[in-house]
Chain length 305, copies 2
């Protein structure tokens, strides 16, 4: 950057031919992460969750500011060193620079504002899905919900706890997947509120409906084995997965399949976009026998069952 | 903008040939404004204070995000309508667009992140002041401190209360002054912590010292008349004025004087930059008889007397 932390503001050089992508997200202790989370855990989760919005837009993250509200018991060198180390690790991993911010005293709260870049006209949005498009998701679904249950119920003997805690505190923002999907995906969103809710946002913005096939949903073997009764609900309705859900038109399908076959994109097809109009937009779930399991209708901000 | 609120992030078109200027600031109820402030007052103060950082950089503000943490007693249509109207008025006045944000539940806290533009290489910084430069300030000093005392002591009969409350809740970010000072001022800062502290930041960043003449300090007649004993301290050390303090080299002085004479810049000369080295950087204050009144030494983040 041209000028970093220490002046009234940072001065940043934009890459010619790029549009900016800008988003802010707030995380509050006790709401978005447990009060007992370490400084490192707070930092890594906050930055990863915010980076996920950049992934959903197909943007390359460049810069961020951090507004940190700290209670007295955490305003000490040890907590801050742990926090800074975690923030620095994720920033380095995803090549994004902290360019400014503010610290205030109060209940532990973080607001991150990220700015990324995308070539003009290539940002992925929620509004481009069309009838006949295939619906894909990256990675596994349901890990976020499983991790949340682990954190709430504190299973000391949980066999999958290391993997799930890593998923919760270091969800992997799908930046590389987002970059590869530019000019291939017709619509894209990150799964923060759960697949049904977030695919619902795509349907609402695009004026279409969707049908999801349960047997195609990617669920980690550990979850299916340990929590077979919860697995499907977690995959469909659990939040905090920070995977991408995206749609692909028929003429782009071969490109996505090639990326998957080459191991360059970890994604699978889970359903199909169908025609819809603004009054009857739904996401339907069918099992392997084509039996309709549930139909949900996207509301303004969330699903009402 | 290319894509606004409602997707995972906003997509923004940068003007070719411009650098970005980015800053974030948090305001907390009971710390940065009284708990009793109205929704409109909270909104206007928060946006004006954040815009002031853009003014200090000589940047044209373009976009902002808002992270709003709201307590239950304010999460109602009336408070939000009042808040939104205030935010909208200031955004319109300064031609800056709200492009995203987040709302959470908790003690009233706002984090605004602003992005502005400045032609490449023309951002005003703190580090360019040189020995022999003149020191200027815009507008009046001490209004912020006088307003704070009014708010704390709640003078029902205060003759200047309307003007001072407006100064506190709608401080005028000096955006136009900042734009005019591009490629004229050698250094610039906005006065949020008080003249001595903020001029001290310029001195520290530039490796110089400064001498301020008290009889040149612009203090509103109402303050001098009502609070003659406090006026000088408020002007020197009071915060929240959100005026600009800037330095001008001898070869640019005629341009600044011309702007002032033409009524295009409301500013006056208050002192001179002197040589300094990192170990003895000071800001000295002298009266009209050249008697030294006080010397302060800028610390890492604030002045220690």
């Amino acid at each position: 950057m041209a000028l970093g932390i220490g002046d009234d503001a940072a001065v940043l050089n934009v890459t010619p031919g790029q549009q900016l992508v800008m988003a802010s997200d707030t995380l509050v202790a006790g709401v978005h992460f447990p009060e007992t989370a370490s400084g490192r855990e707070v930092a890594t989760r906050s930055l990863c969750v915010n980076l996920s919005d950049m992934a959903a837009m197909g943007a390359k993250p460049r810069w961020f500011t951090l507004a940190l509200t700290l209670p007295r018991d955490k305003a000490n060198a040890e907590w801050l060193a742990d926090f800074s180390a975690g923030l620095g690790d994720i920033a380095k991993q995803y090549d994004v620079a902290l360019v400014g911010g503010d610290t205030t005293s109060g209940p532990l709260t973080l607001t991150l504002s990220l700015v990324g870049e995308v070539p003009v006209g290539e940002a992925l949005t929620r509004s481009g899905a069309g009838s006949g498009d295939s619906v894909f998701v990256t990675g596994y679904l349901g890990d976020g919900a499983a991790a949340l249950e682990l954190l709430i119920n504190d299973f000391a003997d949980h066999t999958d706890s290391d993997r799930l805690l890593r998923r919760f505190y270091c969800p992997e923002p799908q930046i590389q997947a987002g970059l590869k999907l530019r000019s291939i995906a017709s619509a894209c969103i990150d799964i923060s509120d759960g697949l049904m809710a977030d695919l619902g946002h795509i349907c609402k913005a695009s004026g279409v409906t969707a049908v999801i096939q349960t047997e195609q949903l990617p669920i980690a073997a550990e979850i299916l084995e340990r929590s077979p009764l919860d697995a499907l609900e977690w995959a469909l309705c659990g939040g905090d997965d920070y995977q991408l859900c995206f749609t692909v038109a028929a003429d782009q399908l071969a490109k996505v399949e090639a990326l998957i076959d080459l191991g360059e994109l970890d994604a699978r097809r889970i359903g199909t976009i169908k025609p819809g109009d603004q009054s009857i937009i739904t996401v339907s779930v069918i099992d392997k026998n084509n039996t309709l399991l549930t139909v949900v209708k996207p509301g303004y901000n969330h699903f009402s069952h």
